[in-house]
C-alpha cells in the first residue's frame, strides 16, 4: 500500500531575500499546490536533513504558485537551508496545513495586528488581505516591534503598509539605536497608544509567547473580548497533520487545531507554566 500523506512535493526556490541577520525569505515555486489561507503553514524538507514547519508569508497564484517562507537560521534544518539553499535549488514542500486567521469571518470589523520579531511572517498575508480588500474592513492598525531596526522583516514593504487608507502603522524597537526615530520599548506598549473601538475590533497577534500573553491581556483590558483576540502559537511541530503528537498543548494539537487560536480557547493552558 502506498502512503502519500507525509510525502513532499518538489518545490524550486526561485528567489531568496535577505531580511535580517540570519533571516531570509525563500520564494518556493511548486505545481498543483492548494492555495494556503492567511496564517496557514507549510512543511519544508531539506533532503536528508529533515523538515521544518514554516508559515506562508505570501502567496502568488499561477500555473505554478509561488509561496514565500521566512526562515530564521536557528536549528539544524534551518541552518542548513540558510547556508546551502539558494535560488534554483530544490526544497521538498507539503501543506498547506493548520487553521489560519479567521479574517473572512470578521469583515466589517476594525483590524488590529500586533507583531513581534519574526512573528510578522504569518501576519503578512493578513496585511495583504486587508489592503487588497480595503472596503471590506474598518480601521486598520498595525503595531510591529523588533529587537533592533535591522531585525525587522519586510522593511521593503513598510512604506506600503503606511499607505493603506484609514490606517495607523507604528513600529518599535527594544533599545535605543542611532538610526531609529520611532518608538523605543516593547511593541505591546504601543497598544496603549492607539485608538480602539473594542466592540468592533478583531486583533491578530504573533510573536514570542510572552509578548503575545502581554498583548492579549492588554487588549482585554482595553475592552476586547477574548474570542476576538487571535494568536498564532509555536510548539514543537513535526508532522504538521496531527499524528506525531509532538505539538500538543493541553488537548490541542497545535498543528491541526491551530496554529491560530482565539485567546479565549488557549488562555487557561497558557496560564500554566510548561503545561
Amino acid at each position: 500500500m502506498a502512503l502519500g500523506r507525509l510525502l513532499p512535493k518538489v518545490g524550486r526556490v526561485v528567489k531568496v531575500v535577505d531580511e535580517a541577520p540570519l533571516v531570509r525569505t525563500y520564494h518556493v515555486e511548486v505545481e498543483e499546490f492548494p492555495e494556503p489561507s492567511p496564517g496557514q503553514f507549510n512543511v519544508l524538507y531539506a533532503k536528508g536533513m529533515g523538515e521544518v514547519v514554516i508559515s506562508v508569508s505570501n502567496y502568488v497564484a499561477g500555473g505554478k504558485s509561488v509561496m514565500e517562507h521566512t526562515v530564521r537560521a536557528i536549528g539544524s534544518v534551518t541552518n542548513y537551508i540558510y547556508a546551502k539553499i539558494g535560488a534554483g535549488d530544490q526544497l521538498g514542500i507539503r501543506g498547506p496545513y493548520g487553521k489560519g486567521w479567521p479574517i473572512r469571518e470578521f469583515e466589517g470589523y476594525d483590524v488590529l495586528i500586533v507583531g513581534g520579531g519574526i512573528g510578522l511572517a504569518p501576519l503578512r498575508p493578513l496585511i495583504k488581505c486587508v489592503s487588497e480588500g480595503r472596503d471590506r474592513y474598518g480601521r486598520f492598525t498595525l503595531l510591529y516591534g523588533a529587537r533592533r531596526p535591522v531585525d525587522m522583516l519586510y522593511k521593503y514593504e513598510h512604506e506600503e503598509y503606511g499607505r493603506i487608507p484609514d490606517s495607523t502603522v507604528l513600529f518599535s524597537i527594544d533599545a535605543p539605536h542611532p538610526s531609529w526615530r520611532g518608538y523605543v520599548g516593547f511593541v505591546t506598549d504601543l497598544i496603549d497608544k492607539v485608538k480602539l473601538e473594542p466592540a468592533n475590533t478583531v486583533a491578530f497577534v504573533c510573536g514570542p509567547e510572552v509578548m503575545m500573553k502581554v498583548a492579549s491581556d492588554k487588549l482585554l483590558k482595553r475592552g476586547l473580548k477574548a474570542d476576538r483576540v487571535f494568536l498564532s502559537l509555536e510548539r514543537r511541530c513535526r508532522c504538521g497533520v496531527g499524528i506525531c503528537g509532538s505539538c500538543q498543548l493541553g488537548h490541542y494539537f497545535v498543528c491541526k487545531d491551530g496554529p491560530v487560536f482565539s485567546y479565549q480557547d488557549v488562555k487557561p493552558y497558557l496560564a500554566v507554566r510548561g503545561l
Binding site: 529533515g50 539544524s76 542548513y80
Partner: protein
C-alpha cells in the same frame, strides 16, 4: 562537493575511539572521497595543525600542554567534536580524581618521571567551546559516520535527547531490571549505543554518560537506592558514574 577538512586529535584516552573513527571509514569508504585528513597521528606520518572544518578530539584534558593544544585546535577549526566519553565527560581516568596523584602515577608507570598530569581530569568543553558531543566508551562508530556524512553534505544531525530505555524498548529488548532484577544504568544514561549491553542480557554500565539534562541530585539519589536494592553497591555505582560521567556529575543541579 568540496572535501571536508578533518583533523583528529588524541589526548588522554585508551585510543579505543580512534579505532571507531577508522572503523567508520572502513564501513563507509565513500567518506574517504569527501574527507581530507590533515592531522591523525595514529593513521598518517605527516601531520600539521591546520585550519580545518572539523576537529575531532578524543580523550580528556589532563595537563597544561593538552589545554594549549586544544585551544589552538579550537582557533583553527570551524567545528569541534568531542569524541567518546573521555572527551565528553572525562572518562575512566577520572577515577583517579581525588586520589593521591603520586601514588596513582607510581602504581601505573615504571618511569613516572615522564608523566605530567594535573590533579583534575577535564572534559573538552570545560576548556573550549564544543559543537558536537559524541559520548560512548567507545563511541558508536555509526554515530560518527552519520555526523560526518551530514557535515560533508553541509548540514548536521538534529539532536534528540532521550534515555537508553527508549532505544532498548523500541528494539523490544527484555528489561533486565524488571525481568531479572539486575541493576542497569539505562534509565539515567544518554541513548545512542543501540542498547548494546541490554541486548546481550546485561545491565548498562552508563558508558554514554549520565543524562544530566534530566537527572538532578535528588533523582540520582532515588535511582541509586533502586540499583542498590538490585545488588549494586553504592561504591560500585559511584565508580561507574565517576568513570563515565565525571564532568556532568560535578555539574549536577540540586533543583528538581
Amino acid at each position: 562537493m568540496r572535501k571536508l577538512r578533518v583533523a583528529v586529535f588524541k589526548l588522554t584516552s585508551c585510543s579505543g575511539c580512534l579505532n571507531e573513527v577508522i572503523y567508520s571509514m572502513m564501513v563507509h569508504p565513500e567518506l574517504l572521497r569527501y574527507v581530507s585528513i590533515s592531522y591523525f597521528t595514529e593513521l598518517q606520518d605527516l601531520n600539521a595543525v591546520e585550519e580545518v572544518d572539523v576537529a575531532i578530539v578524543e580523550g580528556s584534558v589532563v595537563n597544561s600542554e593538552q589545554e594549549e593544544l586544544v585551544r589552538l585546535v579550537r582557533e583553527r577549526a570551524k567545528l569541534v567534536a568531542a569524541l567518546g566519553t573521555c572527551a565528553v565527560f572525562g572518562g575512566v581516568q577520572s577515577l583517579r580524581v581525588g586520589e593521591d596523584l603520586r601514588t596513582t602515577v607510581l602504581a601505573s608507570y615504571p618511569n613516572p618521571d615522564f608523566i605530567r598530569v594535573s590533579p583534575d581530569v577535564k572534559s573538552l568543553d570545560s576548556v573550549v567551546r564544543v559543537d558536537y558531543r559524541l559520548p560512548g566508551c567507545p563511541v558508536n562508530g555509526e554515530s560518527l559516520a552519520r555526523l560526518l556524512v551530514k557535515l560533508v553534505l553541509g548540514g548536521t544531525e538534529t539532536p534528540i535527547h532521550e534515555s537508553l530505555c527508549s532505544e532498548c524498548k523500541r528494539k523490544g529488548i527484555p528489561c533486565v531490571v524488571v525481568l531479572r532484577k539486575e541493576p542497569c544504568l539505562g534509565p539515567v544514561t544518554v541513548a545512542d549505543c543501540g542498547a548494546l549491553c541490554p541486548s546481550f542480557g546485561r545491565g548498562c554500565y552508563g558508558c554514554h554518560g549520565l543524562n544530566a539534562l534530566v537527572v538532578d541530585k535528588g533523582r540520582l539519589e532515588e535511582f541509586s537506592r533502586v540499583v542498590e536494592r538490585l545488588g549494586m553497591s553504592r561504591d560500585d555505582l559511584r565508580a561507574l558514574l565517576k568513570a563515565f560521567s565525571h564532568a556532568s556529575l560535578s555539574r549536577l543541579s540540586s533543583a528538581g
